[in-house]
Point group: C2
Chain length 113, copies 2
């Protein structure tokens, strides 16, 4: 009997062996960028504001310059800005994901296991 | 400030969108092969016999032929054999992991984020 398997995979960025950025964090950054709000982005991803903020602090510390800058004040509790560095990182990660996708396609196994 | 990031990643085999084999399952198969015992392998991986056996049943069902054959009886509650198909799958997975490793090395980012 012939079986068809697909290889799937996931990548993430590490610094000194510690995970700094994966697809979940990229999604968070994108949602902050689109909504202009950490609170909104957290809500959309079903995480608490604190969880989102802890992740942002971790990224802001580990990248050479901050990826998100909170803008205090204003109605609704303040907005937030994804920096140019943050946008570059999002873009880089998507490029890596595209490369991984091609790698997985090329290496997918179509054999009788 | 220059930051050095490494890309890390993980791959797994899927069938009809369902995960069938990843590095944990390969480790389980290898430990069964080396010890000749599902119970021993489960113990080494800090899982219950039932957990290990459920995983094996899942693999045996999803691959075209079984990967592990339990051999009932004998002292210590019966031994188990990793089939030729199982050994081929282990080998194939390691080859894929080697390819992934090279992919990650080639694409690792060494840039100022």
């Amino acid at each position: 009997m012939e079986s068809t398997f697909t290889i799937n995979g996931r990548i993430w960025l590490e610094k000194d062996g510690e995970k700094v950025l994966g697809h979940g964090r990229v999604e968070l950054l994108e949602r902050i960028h689109n909504s202009g709000s950490i609170r909104q982005a957290a809500l959309q991803m079903k995480m608490s504001y604190k969880q989102a903020w802890d992740i942002i602090k971790h990224m802001n510390t580990h990248f050479s310059s901050p990826v998100v800058i909170p803008q205090r004040g204003g109605k609704g509790g303040g907005s937030a800005l994804v920096t140019e560095n943050g946008l570059n990182i999002i873009s880089e990660f998507h490029q890596l994901q595209e490369k991984l996708k091609k790698f997985l396609e090329v290496n997918s196994v179509n054999i009788a296991y």
